[in-house]
């Protein structure tokens, strides 16, 4: 009896985690058929979901909203799974401006997709929303990092093998000089920083970051201050697997907010066919636990099954 209560509570997200356990819920309907007392006892025992008012236990509105989110995780991941990758990316970028997704999602998409994939996403964006993503980002986002963001999203980077090593060295030096002379608040708006990060090819930038480390004895991320936009840009270009592994980790953290938790779906769906193996390895190395174990422990139901399949367990 106590077991059944516990497992039904868990199924209804009563003990946290992502998603709901539809199978357990359906099984309980069968078990407790025509037993209103069972349900009554369950409601009394589930204080987050229900609260006593007079002689009945009524639902808490907050919890109903939470359930809506948890129930929809499976629906969302299935729709996203079917959706064309370009439409996915277009919608996620749109959400940054219209649904308070963090701006880092735009950095993520602009910097981890190939030039053709980013172009496809921009075309899809135009078809869906009758605006270019560049004009929307420029118009709706008025922060210190706007210029960098618009530049990132407008890019169509060269993807060939050629790298001008002398130029990469020169630009590593130039970045060092700018970092030294700028206040860390000003760095995000510095023209040279923006030019280099938003126009150079990824190969060129990786070479530049390598030279920076050799020149200054530490990776450039350590010198970028608390500039989230700059940090994420460099990470997405130089070590995308690390970026994604950290995004997943933030999603699983205690007290993670709604947008952070949505990253779990987004990262796994968007990387399942790309670099999931590398992300799993990086995750294991960085956090000392296997990704499939985290998912098994912290997610429920069909949502869990889908995630595990997608990461290639």
């Amino acid at each position: 009896m106590a077991d059944e209560t516990l497992s039904l509570k868990k199924a209804f997200s009563g003990h946290g985690g992502f998603g709901v356990d539809e199978t357990t819920m359906a099984a309980m309907v069968t078990k407790w058929r025509k037993q209103p007392d069972q349900k009554s006892r369950f409601r009394s025992d589930f204080s987050g979901f229900f609260t006593k008012i007079g002689s009945i236990e009524k639902c808490e509105d907050d919890y109903l909203l939470r359930l809506k989110t948890e129930f929809s995780r499976f629906k969302n991941i299935m729709v996203l799974w079917l959706m064309h990758p370009w439409e996915r990316d277009a919608r996620w970028m749109h959400h940054v401006m219209h649904k308070s997704y963090p701006f880092t999602v735009i950095v993520e998409i602009a910097c981890t997709r190939t030039s053709e994939e980013l172009l496809g996403a921009k075309r899809a964006y135009q078809a869906l929303f009758n605006h270019s993503v560049e004009e929307d980002v420029a118009y709706h986002i008025k922060e210190s990092y706007s210029k960098l963001l618009v530049g990132l999203v407008s890019s169509f980077r060269y993807e060939g093998p050629q790298v001008d090593n002398d130029m990469a060295k020169w630009e590593a030096k130039a970045l060092g000089n700018v970092i030294k002379s700028s206040g860390s608040g000003k760095l995000i708006q510095n023209e040279e920083v923006i030019r280099i990060l938003t126009t150079r090819s990824k190969r060129h930038l990786k070479a530049t970051f390598k030279h920076y480390k050799e020149l200054h004895g530490k990776p450039i991320e350590e010198d970028l201050g608390a500039n989230l936009c700059l940090q994420e840009t460099v990470k997405c270009i130089d070590k995308p697997a690390k970026y994604f592994s950290e995004a997943i980790n933030i999603a699983f953290k205690e007290g993670a907010d709604k947008p952070s938790k949505l990253s779990l779906t987004r990262v796994i769906i968007s990387r399942a066919d790309v670099d999931m193996e590398e992300i799993k390895e990086t995750y294991h190395k960085q956090f000392g636990v296997k990704l499939e174990d985290m998912i098994t422990k912290n997610t429920h139901g069909h949502y869990k099954d889908t995630l595990l399949t997608l990461i290639g367990k």
């Binding site: 270019s132 118009y139 060269y158």
Partner: protein, 316 residues
Amino acid sequence: MSTLTIPHVIPSPQEDCEKLHTAFSGWGTNEGDIIEVVTHRTADQRNAIRWTYHDIYGEDLLKSLDKELTQDFEKAVLLWMLDPIERDATLVNGAVKKWAPHDRVLVEIAVTRTANELLAVRKAYQEKYKKSLEEDVAAHTTGDFRKLMLPLVSSYRYEGPEVDSGLAKSEAHILRKHIKDEEYNHEEVIRILTTRSKSQLMATFNAYHEEHGNPINKDLKKDPKDDFLFALRSIIRCITCPERYLEKVIRLSMKNTGTDENALTRVVTTRAEVNLKEIKEVYYKRNTVKLEHAIKKDTKGHYEDFLLALVGSEEE
């Protein structure tokens, strides 16, 4: 519309290649035959000739032309023979490498081409020069010009007809504010001009005129010698009246003080298959003289023959 005249019966690429090869052979070059072939073929037909020539004679036709021809005529033919997208990429590369604030080419190409054409130019640029157009523009421009030119060449504008008239009014207001305060390089000015769709911008410029009395370009003429203001006015004209803008480029290229062959060649070769007909009409309206006559007066030799063949003449 195109001003090209294509013969009713088009020789096969093989026949054209033979004629060209013969024109190169022996002492001297038969420029007349070269003009005869290349100026009466469409871009696709010219591409076919280029591939066929390489198949038959083992050499790039452009190399042969480079060996045989000289000066303005050679530059014009080589530019003409390129595929239109490769041609634009070549032109912007030339402009970027020797960029100076009075450059007109980058704005002309970035703004008069469609979003997809500009994108194709960016792709062709990468293939040809192993760098992106954006990184070269960013590296070769400075200050206010970089702030303007980088987003301009990176733009991928929405091309639908939808207009938000409330937005047009408010952005006209923003433009007016910064123009009045002489903050021509303000990020809002640049944002609006480089990201909005062309339809939206036309509505914005109309709203500007209605609400603030002057057409926006009139208010951007504070210093007629200022290159940055010139660039802004050019962007606006290329959006609102590209044919009039290009007519002016052609007209100024043939002023009394000598001919700017580069500009003349550029506009004629890049627009002959697009809207040179409309540009000719504007030219006649503006100058009461036909473009053909102006070219006859201002140029000579094979270069003149080449241009006239592309520009066409209603008298024939």
